[in-house]
Amino acid sequence: MNKLICNSCFNFEFFETNIEYLREIKVKDGSLVINDTHFEDWNYTDTHFRDSLEDIVSYVVKSEMDALSWNSEKECHENSYIKCAKCGSSQVSIPSYMIKKKKHQSLEAELKENHQEYNNLRRKRNGNTLPVLWEPK
């Protein structure tokens, strides 16, 4: 079962995200030395990094729409945390979002788009003797 999908290229395997990488710094002979940080034998830099990545992925998977924000210029939802590593798109979501995708349309735009379909329905229901509905000019 795929957890995430890119809605631009349909990649469901390779992604990118930004994570804080914890460094331990010390001064030796006046110069700065950087290493992983350890607590006794345990590499905390490693654990912290892996945990942060897992947290981001599971948050994005569980929160569904909360991880997405609406980009009004491109007219699509974009993931605030995870990008597609294949095409660079931010349109990354859980797979079931693909079905809900068109729901962001305004009511007015949706009514307008489906006007003809409604007229077809009226025709089927009432035959061809339809009263003409008043419409604002």
Binding site: M1, N2, K3, L4, F12, E13, F14, F15, E16, T17, N18, I19, E20, Y21, L22, R23, E24, I25, K26, V27, K28, G30, S31, L32, V33, I34, N35, T37, F49, R50, L53, E54, V57, A85
Partner: protein, 90 residues
């Protein structure tokens, strides 16, 4: 160069600093995460020169953020090269 914790007196070792990095990962069918690549998005050099480091560095011994960093011009350049080597070794 010198780093000192104003709270516990810890000096020149045991300071923690997070640096943002970009990671590329793979989600396999079992939902497991494989880390494929890691590249730095910010450098210690920038943090040192624009003083941002002071807000983000913490003392590993006591967890305090009140850390004093004394840096002079000559040491600044020598510290940058060691930082480069250390971070590019990722």
């Amino acid at each position: 160069m010198e780093i000192r914790c104003q709270s516990c007196g810890n000096q020149n070792s045991g300071f923690l600093l997070p640096l943002w990095s970009k990671t590329t990962f793979k989600l396999d069918h079992g939902g497991e995460i494989k880390i494929l690549h890691l590249s730095p998005l910010e450098s210690l050099e920038d943090k040192l020169t624009d003083n941002k480091i002071k807000k983000e560095i913490t003392c590993k011994e006591c967890g305090n953020c009140d850390v004093e960093i004394v840096l002079n011009e000559f040491e600044k350049s020598s510290s940058i090269s060691s930082e480069r080597q250390a971070f590019e070794g990722l």
